[in-house]
């Protein structure tokens, strides 16, 4: 049994490896899913309301209608992901029943549990979770997450928080890497993470799972910035379908992730994209989603 679980976990980490260098897009209709796939999205995140609208509408936001998710599964061949509330393991059971490819236990929705995250090791389907530092990332991995993304601040079109989170993560990884072996025990205690996971970071200089950037990415330059800062791929939520020309912007962001270190390519694809999402500055918002689920 234990061997089966470990084998499945390995396969789930492997799927995330195949998503690397790609862009995962939020979509709320089969139509949008098709646009995303045709533009070259590596996966889609099916949700009824994109974060910008969740933020505008307020109230409690929950897992999407399984029927809506299925309608998206039917029209695309790329993986389909969907979100559950933090700690809401029954929403996760429902998504597993409809054979979702990846579950995002997400701070974008209203948390269902202010203490416990889902015990993700009990599931066969893979989970991605948000993190804003190495402690959160390793705690989620200990619970069974097979992929991590920065939290960023969803639905704002402001990249500052995603930058802060990826910088925090990569600088903490470098710090752990340079520690003496006996310092790792104390660091594990301080960070409140399992020693074995911290040791893996110390030895490999990276998280034991794939790490994407998410939250506030709105332009090809934003996406390339996250890649140059060390992300292995990018989630784009509101940035695409809240912009003037979603298909064109989607394609440009995808190319930016592939050629993230080539300013000439970036200059070319940044031209003439129409209007970016308007966005809200971090200082103007009431609700900090990134503070949910630590």
């Amino acid at each position: 049994m234990q061997a089966e679980i470990e084998k499945q976990y390995e396969l789930n980490k492997n799927l995330a490896q195949m998503l690397k260098g790609g862009v995962i897009m939020d979509v709320s209709t089969p139509e949008q899913a098709r646009i995303a796939e045709q533009a070259g999205a590596v996966a889609v995140m099916a949700l009824e309301r994109i974060p910008a609208d969740i933020r505008a509408a307020g109230g409690v936001s929950r897992m999407s209608d399984p029927k809506m998710i299925r309608s998206i599964q039917q029209v695309v061949s790329i993986p389909v992901m969907a979100k559950v509330r933090i700690g809401h393991f029954v929403e996760a059971q429902i998504l597993e029943a409809i054979e979702i490819d990846y579950i995002d236990e997400s701070e974008v929705l209203s948390p269902a549990d202010d203490k416990y995250h889902i015990d993700k090791s009990k599931f066969k389907v893979p989970f991605v979770c948000g993190a804003k530092n190495i402690g959160e990332a390793l705690r989620r991995i200990a619970e069974g997450a097979s992929m991590i993304r920065t939290k960023g601040e969803p639905g704002t079109g402001d990249v500052i928080q995603a930058v802060r989170h990826i910088r925090a993560m990569t600088s903490e990884i470098r710090r752990v890497q340079s520690m003496k072996e006996d310092e790792l025990y104390y660091a594990a205690k301080e960070l409140q993470v399992p020693y074995e996971l911290l040791r893996s970071v110390h030895e490999n200089g990276k998280l034991p799972v794939v790490n994407f950037a998410a939250g506030g990415v709105a332009t090809p330059a934003d996406a390339a910035l996250m890649m140059q800062l060390g992300a292995e791929g990018v989630f784009v939520g509101s940035g695409i379908f809240k912009s003037g020309n979603p298909a064109k912007r989607a394609q440009a962001i995808i190319k930016a992730v592939t050629n993230f270190s080539d300013p000439h390519v970036l200059a070319e694809i940044s031209e003439d994209l129409g209007e970016a999402m308007v966005g809200i500055n971090e200082s103007e918002i009431q609700l900090l989603m990134a503070e949910r689920g630590i």
């Binding site: 390995e10 396969l11 492997n14 490896q17 195949m18 998503l19 260098g21 389907v125 992730v257 390519v265």
Partner: protein, 193 residues
């Protein structure tokens, strides 16, 4: 010897790691200028075939690579890379390089819950670990295509002349015998009797 690894999206780092373990030099191909480096072989990694196929065309790499493949460049494609090499993809009229005379089925084992790990024989090598991630399989292959592995009566690895394709991911395991096969049996023997 130098192997080009298509690095548009997906698991290309893992292939570079496997080549490195075999002390084989490699370089990443992300844009047209990268093709100025001459290569003795090409690896098409796993990832999403729709994404890689689209970027190949949009970044103006497709024709140049296709010409080299038609001229006998050794190519090793895994998973999405295998789809790019197939003459026919079930359920669509789209094909990419179309260089191996076979038909493949995308996501043939279903969604992520259908992904699996197994061990099975690879002709001439022996039993090897095989990781299938939302994998395709080969529906049929022409007689001139050599079948190298079968799992549950489905063809999952083939070779046609200088082209090698696997539905699974040898690059995700520590076992690099399939990469060695590609280098020793195909790349090094190219043009030799």
């Amino acid at each position: 010897m130098k192997i080009g690894v298509l690095a548009l999206q997906g698991g290309f780092i893992e292939h570079i790691g496997a080549l490195h373990a075999l002390q084989v030099d490699s370089f990443e191909i992300r844009k047209r200028e990268d093709l100025q480096t001459a290569m003795d072989g090409l690896i098409l990694p796993g990832g999403e075939s729709t994404v890689i196929g689209k970027l190949l065309k949009e970044l103006d790499l497709f024709h140049a690579l296709n010409e080299q493949i038609q001229n006998g460049l050794p190519v090793f494609g895994t998973c999405a890379g295998m789809i790019l090499l197939a003459k026919k993809i079930r359920g669509t009229d789209t094909a990419y390089f179309g260089a191996i005379d076979m038909e493949v089925k995308r996501n043939a084992y279903g969604r992520q819950l259908g992904s699996f790990f197994t061990e099975a024989a690879f002709k001439g090598i022996g039993v090897i670990p095989m990781t299938f991630i939302r994998a395709p399989y080969i529906e049929w292959a022409a007689p001139e295509v050599e079948i190298l592995s079968e799992v549950n009566k489905r063809i999952v690895a083939v070779r046609q002349n200088n082209l090698l394709a696997t539905a699974y991911h040898p690059e995700l395991t520590a076992d690099n015998r399939v990469h060695r096969y590609f280098i020793e049996q195909i790349v090094e023997k190219r043009g030799k009797p």
